[in-house]
Amino acid sequence: MSTPVRRHALIGLAVAGLVGVLAAWLLLGAGRRATTGFRAEREAVVSARALAELVARAGAQGDQVRQAVTRFTAGDQSIRSARVIIFEGLSLEASTFPEDVGDKAAPRRLAKEEKPLFDQGQRLRAAAETNREDQASMKEEIEVTPMADGSLQVAAPLSRDGAVVGFLQLIAAPPAVVAQAAPWWPALLAFIVPIALFALATTVLPERRLALSVAGLVLLMAGLLGFARVGSSTLAGDRGAAENAVASHATAVGTRAATLAGELNLAGQPFDPSAWDVTVFSKPYGVFSPTGQVDSAKLEAATVSTVASWRSLFWLLGGISGLLLLFFSTGLAARLWSILVTNRGAYFYVSPAMVGMLLLVFFPFFYGIALSFTGSTIYNTDKSIPQIWVGLKNYTEIISDVKVAQHSAGGWAINYQNFYWTLWVTVAWTISNVAIGVTVGLILALILNIKGLRFRPIYRVLLILPWAVPNYITALIWKGMFHQQFGVVNQVLQMVGMDPVSWFEKPFTSFLACLATNGWLSFPFMMVISLGALQSIPADLYEAARVDGASRWRQFTSITLPSLKPALVPAVILSVVWTFNMFNIIYLVSAGEPAHSTEILITQAYKLAFEQYRYGYAAAYSTVIFGILLLYGTWQNRVTKATEGI
């Protein structure tokens, strides 16, 4: 145990085991609490729905309603109080709330401070009507709010003759059954046993990092898996108990409701308690039958789903713990620590910049990637990321969008909003722009580099101007120049005797218009880079070449171009990345006309986010753009070894 290799591996196992088991134990505790909370919620919803049906049968307004509410809440220990509000006349029809007595007793008009109550009701009404109209379940028809003291507030809409006329609010007392903590002894075993076994194993195993790492990993996974087994069975048991409890509660409520209905002489079909056990979107869970019999197949399915979600979290945990173990056992941790300690001062100076970059660059970047795994749109901005998680759906939708062209009676029709078409346009755009930029820039730089050129500073200033003018203004001016009737370009064409072109009518001419604009904008950058690199080539190289009899062209290809490589290639990489994402020109000059045929990936992503409000999908689109550019940059760098000198 004295050798560093063994020590690292043991520390790694201890830390990974501690983190993994502790996190798993906490998750298990949270899972148990969630199941208990879920049960309390469903019981409360069942009570609320039962009361809502009773009140609806009693006519939603009037004395019978008050009696129904009073008797229903009185006979049930699990219900603290309830109230019924009817929208017309802003009326509080019935209430067993302690403060609604005396001159504030129901029926009365709602007071000014009770506006949030009224708004809640209207929200439920709008949600119920939208769900009914759209035949979808997008809006919450029932709102369950946990209160500070552990009780639950359930609000459900009240319908009469198919229209929502009011709503009902019910406060359920804190549940009698409290969630049990996760068992601690399996966690302790899962932590201690792998370490003990590992200590024994190190005496037999060779002192190699690989062997020890593998052994450590195996033991760690074994320990965690054992704990996972225990956790799964605990949660399954909890869920089964919860479903049974909800079923029996619903049956009991059903019996009481039937009795009450008889007492108050309310007509109607016998009550169906299983229709009261619904999600917040009013979809029945359907786990038990109207008579309270729990369907074992449905129970199985419900249990499996609970355990499955816990298990997937567990896999994530296992992965993280494994990585943590490897971090220590491969000696990486020790090396990092020694670097940090020896360069304390340097890291201290760098830390403010690192914090800044973390906040301004890394956090938004990773948030964007996280967003791309969700189905975030303008309709669900209030939900948290885990609630709207869709995994790789956005990415598969983008990549699998292969219907580029359709064959119809009139010939092939290209689907211009297709990802691959847009990718093709973007690649063509980038290649043609960079080619033009580099060629024109290099030629101008060679001209400007001629010895003894008169008025060189004036030419330099004039040639930098396209870069200096804000490209927003440039784009709008060029767009005006390409106007079919009043634009300069068409006037010139007519002067030369050619027909005027309607530039934005066909994809190719529209593309040319954008190309011309961006070409004009991009050559100054290349010119400046080339000029700088040209001036750094030693003149005696040319001297020697001339003496040897090399032609001008040979000099160019053998001396100039290779010397320009270290400067031009990074410039080309930069230019490719900038042009790939050149939003302004495409958006302002052609705006994707005609019919989105000249869109590039970045304008498409913008329109997805801000015109279609599909934020998650747009984030995935942007991540794909990033991926493409990252691949390109790495490949280009490797192929040309650009960052090395000649």
């Binding site: 009224f118 209207q122 303008i378 009043f486 015109e611 409000y613 599909r614």
Partner: protein
């Protein structure tokens, strides 16, 4: 001794703080600049004077227009942001669907208060049966003509065509009528004359319904056969044509008046009736700026008092005469000074024939496909029916893909 002084100081500060807490401090966000901003601040100052006794004080904050909607979406649902904000009704549906942004006003509205507004502006503030804001002012498109070229503005479409053709000389770049007809917002006036709609009563898109197609066919007839409209009309082109006297008439809104050059003598008139639609008038879509109470506001009752004051006659007079707005309060147009102003009177007359632009969230999905369709059909790359059928399909697809998500 020193401790006692400190204690007294703390006690004084606490009571002062307690007194402040009884009063309400309201913050209003708006996107106004120039004379509108000055007029609005004057109105708010009047409110502060009136409410000084009750301790209610309002402050305004000018937020640049382009970032306005996004700032509201980012701040209000998280509990920050203003108490009241002013914005057009087109984002209303989106904010309501997203939730936690605007508070409905039904609870506060006393009987009869909505009668003081032009009914069509009140419609713009209503969504799914609830009232979400009070209308402040409206903007709509009307006919603006060059008095030197046009002595009597046309009243029917036949007169319009005849007059426009007389004043058109395409070779010299002169046009009888110029407006951004490829922008659906401007085309809506013609569409509504034929009884067309963008969305039906159940909020389903009906972009390609037969009445819409008829209105587009009339537009193409004006462009193609009667030849008095310029090609590829952009906002900048229209302004330039009108200011150089090369466009006799334009269909445009109050925002255009500030861009007209000083040497053009212009007049305003109601949009003509359309003979091809049975003599029905052209009904432009109006944009109504509404006053909304944020869901995050801590002083909603005080905010409602402010809303009532700002939409009342005294405030409307200042906004009309000094802010050059057209208020939604209908009583103000009986005021002598306001009635004497030809511009305000013209827009007031036009709003009698106007419809509110739909305020649902789905409207946002509508613009892009329809703009593509308008561009392709005005370039004669597709027939109106084909282009609109494609747009209808696209709008339906977009709405469906948005609904699909959790």
């Amino acid at each position: 001794m020193r401790l006692r002084g400190l204690g007294v100081l703390i006690a004084v500060l606490m009571t002062a703080g307690a007194v402040q807490a009884l009063a309400a401090d309201l913050v209003i966000w708006h996107g106004y600049r120039g004379e509108e901003k000055v007029a609005f601040e004057k109105v708010v100052a009047m409110f502060n004077e009136k409410m000084a006794a009750k301790g209610i004080k309002a402050t305004t904050l000018a937020v640049p227009y382009d970032a306005f909607a996004d700032k509201i979406t980012a701040s209000v649902p998280r509990g920050k942001g203003p108490d009241i904000f002013i914005f057009a009704q087109d984002r209303l549906g989106g904010w309501i669907e997203a939730g936690n942004t605007i508070d409905p006003l039904d609870f506060y509205l006393e009987k009869g208060i909505t009668d003081r507004f032009l009914p069509v502006t009140m419609d713009a503030m209503t969504y799914k049966g609830q009232i979400w804001g009070l209308p402040f002012n409206f903007k709509c498109v009307t006919m603006i003509y060059n008095k030197k070229l046009v002595t009597t503005p046309p009243k029917t479409s036949k007169e319009l065509v005849a007059l426009a053709q007389k004043l058109t000389n395409a070779a010299a770049g002169q046009y009888g009528l110029a407006y951004t007809y490829a922008d659906f917002y401007f085309h809506s006036a013609l569409m509504n004359a034929f009884g067309g709609q963008a969305f039906d009563a159940q909020r389903k898109p009906t972009v390609n319904n037969p009445n819409n197609i008829k209105s587009l066919e009339l537009l193409m007839k004006w462009f193609d056969q009667d030849k008095f409209l310029p090609a590829e009309p952009g906002g900048a082109l229209i302004t330039q044509l009108f200011n150089s006297g090369k466009a006799a008439m334009v269909f445009n809104g109050p925002w255009f008046l500030g861009e007209i050059s000083k040497d053009i003598d212009y007049g305003l008139a109601i949009l003509p009736t359309v003979d091809e639609a049975g003599g029905k008038p052209m009904k432009p879509w109006i944009t109504v700026e509404g006053l909304y109470i944020s869901a995050s506001s801590k002083n909603k009752e005080a905010a409602y008092e402010l809303l009532k004051f700002i939409t009342d006659l005294d405030a409307a007079k200042i906004m009309a005469l000094e802010g050059r707005q057209t208020p939604a309060n209908k009583g103000i147009y009986d005021d002598a000074q306001v009635a004497a102003d030809p511009i305000l009177k013209a827009f007031r007359n036009q709003v009698n024939n106007a419809l509110p632009m739909p305020n649902f969230a789905e409207m946002a999905m509508f613009w892009s496909p329809v703009t593509t369709a308008m561009n392709s059909l005005t370039r004669k790359a597709a027939t109106p029916k084909a282009a609109m059928d494609l747009a209808q399909k696209e709008v339906e697809e977009r709405i469906a893909s948005l609904r699909k998500n959790p």
